[in-house]
């Protein structure tokens, strides 16, 4: 392609910024409005949430992948800076599952707009991302949105914001992204307050990858921010972490539609393609350098780390014939999502499937939804679990210390006599809530084995509570419970904490003496009975009667803690073939035979796959 020539901006005329906001607080609307006010989008092509490209993003009102928009802006402010500026908006994901991606995108900016709904107030997710922005040393511009709403309480919310970032409530910008009121002032503030990027055009080229996206026609598109030096189309690049080397085929900026460009200098934001086949070759956080002599002496930008799954779940095709299709789908999905992992596993109950690792629950939901939407595979998913560190009793490593293994699937847990202790991942949870719900929320957190770390009043009526909680306790229905006991007013966010030991046991569920691996779960000893009882009762309801009595037991090791019995079936015959109508009877039997073929066999017990699905869908029993 031939490069058109967008104007070249000197580094002191560039401002890179992002917007930190909670879902629904108007981030996408503000971005849309900025695109319009800088006349970048033809009004006829304007659509809501212009930057969110995936259907799932638009439907859920969330941003999963980072997007960028280059906004040329004529600054008319009173000072001597008046003139043309280049504002680069880097639209980041907002969810806790993607906090690493968020932190990289934040590192590509110098400033952040803290956008808060004037009616809703600060939310835990906003605060978590705000802390990430502060850690990245960004200039924060506080903005109150939706001031036109009748329920808006701008003064209260402005005070909440200032209690965290400091400053005067009167300095908080008040806008309505919907009507466009105040949006110009936001753009002016970006020019005035966000520092220009620092970087040297003469140093060796270095750029930060803050996102990479798979495109079926062009390979992986790498979103990057230049720190030092200049990149020109045709240059041969080398990625520090993965070692990938190739020539830059395409170089472009988004304004906001992709526009080719010949070269990008310090402080600029762009996208490149270099025949990269999968996103795992160009990971978020990696540093782009120029290949060739001297490449090794260029230091990587700080902060790179491998994506680490937090939540695991077994994915099985409902119809076992779909297994190869599922494998292909997971392969394809991994081309554009390097943060999710999978490896084959087998389950006696569910057949062949995959144990998949996700960054969090939202990530899990998104992957499953994409499998369904893009590949049309109906799935059975096992209850989400976490990865445990298991310290073995009689095995030692080279240093003489007890050997430690990682267990992501409860069925891989060694027998109790081999285990010295089990450690589980914890998180530091931040909960923001109106003060009248403090009591019930404390009760909930304590029921989930939480330890309170701090409790602060942001204002007289809004409280920030911090708890250390086992991750395994919050990936089931914790958020639903929290929402229900606070009538939807609480918000939650969390960050990873340390591994900690607790009295954890594996509860197995046995059908006619055979363990049903899909239902094994690692739970706290005090919750084991409840879990076991809930599971056996539910399975007794769901599993059809067999030719013989079938005991369903929950057990810790060899010890049975709960038991139910499915009584043998006694009747399975149509009493009458009326009026010589045998065809109907035969057709009914043939239908039943089709059903029988689909049955999953656990030992000698036949279980319709729907029974497993139903038992798994209702999730782990409540544990408080």
């Amino acid at each position: 392609m031939t490069g058109t020539l967008p104007p070249v901006y000197p580094i002191d005329r560039i401002r890179n910024f992002c917007i930190v906001a909670h879902v629904d607080h108007g981030k996408s609307t503000l971005a849309d409005r900025m695109l319009q006010q800088t006349n970048l989008v033809d009004p006829r092509k304007m659509r809501d949430q212009y930057l969110d490209k995936m259907d799932i993003e638009r439907e859920r009102g969330i941003t999963i992948k980072a997007q960028t928009a280059r906004l040329p802006y004529h600054y008319t402010g009173g000072d001597s800076h008046a003139g043309e500026f280049l504002l680069n908006l880097i639209d980041t994901p907002g969810h806790v599952d993607f906090s690493y991606e968020v932190s990289r995108a934040l590192n590509a900016c110098e400033g952040a707009i803290l956008l808060v709904d004037a009616a809703q107030g600060m939310e835990a997710q906003t605060i978590a991302n705000l802390y990430l922005a502060l850690e990245a040393d960004l200039e924060i511009i506080p903005v109150l949105n939706k001031i036109d709403l009748p329920a808006a309480r701008p003064d209260d919310v402005a005070r909440e914001m200032c209690s965290i970032i400091g400053g005067e409530p009167d300095d908080v910008l008040r806008i309505s992204a919907k009507t466009g009121e105040g949006v110009r002032e936001v753009l002016e503030s970006i020019v005035e307050r966000v520092p220009a990027p620092k970087g040297s055009p003469d140093d060796p080229f270095r750029a930060l990858i803050f996102d990479s996206v798979y495109d079926p026609y062009r390979g992986v598109l790498v979103y990057f921010r230049v720190v030092d030096g200049t990149l020109t189309r045709g240059d041969k690049i080398k990625l520090k972490a993965t070692g990938y080397e190739n020539e830059v085929d395409d170089l472009a900026v988004h304004s906001p539609e992709e526009t080719p460009i010949d070269a990008l200098g310090p402080g600029e934001v762009g996208v490149l393609s270099a025949s990269i086949k999968e996103v795992s070759q160009a990971k978020v956080g990696d540093t782009i350098t120029l290949a060739g002599r001297g490449a090794a002496t260029v230091h990587a930008l700080p902060g790179y780390r491998e994506p680490l799954p937090m939540v695991y779940s077994g994915l099985y095709p409902l119809d076992s014939d779909d297994f190869p299709i599922l494998r292909d789908a997971l392969d394809k999905l991994q081309l554009n999502d390097a943060s999710f992992t999978f490896e084959p596993e087998t389950s006696t109950a569910l057949g062949f499937g995959f144990r998949c690792g996700f960054l969090g629950l939202l990530h899990l939901e998104i992957v499953i939804e994409r499998l369904d939407r893009e590949f049309g595979i109906p799935l059975v998913t096992t209850a989400p679990s976490v990865s445990y560190r298991v310290v073995l009793e009689h095995e030692f490593d080279d240093t003489g210390a007890n050997r430690v293994i990682t267990v992501a699937n409860p069925q891989d847990l060694p027998t109790p006599n081999k285990i010295l202790r089990i450690e589980e991942p914890t998180v530091t949870a931040m909960i923001l809530l109106p003060n009248e719900y403090v009591g019930p929320v404390m009760q909930l957190c304590e029921g989930r084995r939480g330890t309170m770390l701090a409790m602060d009043y942001l204002t007289e009526s809004r409280v920030e509570m911090r708890y250390r909680l086992p991750l395994g306790e919050i990936i089931t229905d914790f958020f639903d419970q929290l929402k229900s006991i606070t009538r939807g007013y609480a918000s939650l966010d969390y960050e990873r904490g340390d591994y900690m030991a607790d009295a954890l046991v594996k509860v197995d569920v046995l059908l006619n003496g055979e363990p049903v691996d899909a239902f094994s779960s690692i739970v706290h000893r005090d919750h084991a009975y409840e879990y076991g009882k809930g599971m056996v009762e539910r399975l007794r309801e769901l599993i059809p009667r067999q030719m013989f009595d079938v005991p369903i037991q929950a057990a810790i090791g060899a010890k049975i803690i709960a038991r139910e019995t499915i009584k043998a079936r006694r009747k399975d015959v149509l009493a009458k073939c009326y009026g010589g109508d045998v065809s109907r009877k035969r057709k009914l039997l043939e239908k039943q035979k089709e059903g029988k073929k689909k049955m999953k066999q656990v030992g000698s017990v036949e279980v319709p796959p729907e029974a497993f699905v139903a038992a798994l869908r209702s999730g782990s029993p409540k544990q408080d």
């Binding site: 009747k571 009026g579 010589g580 065809s583 043939e590």
Partner: protein, 382 residues
């Protein structure tokens, strides 16, 4: 596949005999559980229906194959005026080669019974009546929406005997919601006291497309419990067995083998039968066909001299094999080895190991315990 079992049968298939089924689709009241082709609001059709039925029968004549049984079912055949009903039987005799001593059954509801009716039917060669008693417990009859009192069936049986009918069977239903063990035992005792020579006892089945089906799905009627029905089945076996009845088919008991319903046995032995009237199903050597369930299209077709059949199928050897088993194993006698279709030896071994079927007598038979689980046995064997 060795298809000797089809070509050269000992008892089954063409060897089983040749029957005629005639359907009368009128009832004074359509009971809530009923999913048969029957109507309680179309009595205006009776004259045209009988005429159409006669025309259909007359046109089918010409076969000299001996007819071994005739069954006139419903609905309530005895709702027809006696001369209409007897006239149909007369026409069958005139049209087909009905064997001397052939079984000729008419279904009857107790409230329609009278000595005169039975005399008229007997004069036309009817020698067996199947009386729809269903229960002798007033509450159960009410639930089932039956139109007669608990006492009426005994009286009706006596009237049949008096009218010259040789064989009388009682139809019973068990496992109705609200029925107690005592109700069922009392009903069975009444059947014994009635001195009938045949009892049919069916577990109440709920069909989705009936008023009972809708009430069950709404939760206003309890779904019959499988365990209760299995208990009632056992009670019937014990009580009727002790009274001298032979349990010759899952739902049928006879006082001695001569009292078995030959027409029903024909069905279970995979035999051939013609079918006349709405909703009637016929079978001949692996071909099945059936008439429409609604009266108007049936009558119109016959009046326009068209074949009224609304559907048919030719069974594949596999389908015939499946039918042979699902029908034959309903009979205590089971299947003669020559009439047994090929079965996967492992499947047979499995069904025997689960005590569903046995071969120890040299025939393939259901076991006592496996009888009420016959569908499971068939799913394993085919």
């Amino acid at each position: 596949m060795d298809e000797r079992w089809m070509a050269d049968p000992v008892e089954c298939g063409t060897a089983a005999g040749f029957g005629i089924y005639v359907h009368i689709p009128f009832c004074a009241h359509r009971c809530g559980y009923c999913d048969f082709a029957t109507y309680d609001d179309q009595h205006d059709w009776i004259p045209r229906y009988v005429a159409a039925l006669r025309a259909e029968i007359a046109r089918a004549g010409g076969s000299d194959r001996p007819v071994t049984s005739i069954f006139i079912g419903g609905g309530t055949p005895t709702l027809l005026p006696a001369h209409h009903l007897a006239g149909v039987v007369d026409l069958l005799h005139a049209t087909f080669a009905v064997e001397v001593g052939a079984e000729v059954t008419v279904e009857c509801n107790p409230e329609t019974a009278s000595v005169e009716l039975f005399e008229r039917l007997a004069a036309s060669g009817v020698n067996r009546v199947s009386m729809g008693a269903q229960s002798f417990a007033a509450e159960v009859l009410k639930t089932l929406e039956r139109q007669h009192t608990a006492e009426r069936p005994l009286e009706a049986v006596a009237q049949a005997r008096q009218g010259g009918i040789d064989q009388v069977s009682l139809d019973l239903i068990y496992g109705t919601p609200g029925e107690t063990n005592d109700d069922w035992e009392a009903t069975l005792r009444q059947a014994v006291i009635a001195e009938v020579d045949h009892v049919s006892a069916y577990a109440l089945t709920i069909h989705d497309n009936t008023p009972f089906g809708r009430r069950v799905s709404q939760g206003t009627l309890a779904r019959p419990d499988d365990d209760v029905q299995a208990d009632r089945f056992d009670t019937a076996r014990d009580l009727l067995g002790a009274a001298g009845f032979e349990h010759y088919e899952i739902s049928n008991w006879a006082m001695g083998s001569r009292a078995r319903s030959r027409h029903n046995v024909l069905y279970w032995r995979h035999g051939d039968y013609l079918a006349f009237g709405v909703g009637a199903h016929g079978h001949r050597d692996g071909q099945r066909w059936w008439n429409p369930r609604a009266i108007a299209p049936y009558v119109t077709a016959v009046e326009e001299r068209r074949d009224p059949a609304s559907g048919s199928e030719v069974l594949t050897p596999d389908e015939r094999a499946e039918e042979r088993l699902l029908l034959g194993l309903r009979l205590r006698e089971g299947l003669h080895p020559v009439d047994v279709p090929p079965i996967d030896p492992l499947a047979l071994e499995d069904a025997i190991a689960h005590d569903l079927v046995q071969t120890s007598s040299g025939r393939l038979q259901s076991t006592e315990g496996g009888w009420f689980l016959l569908d499971e046995a068939i799913r394993r064997l085919t």
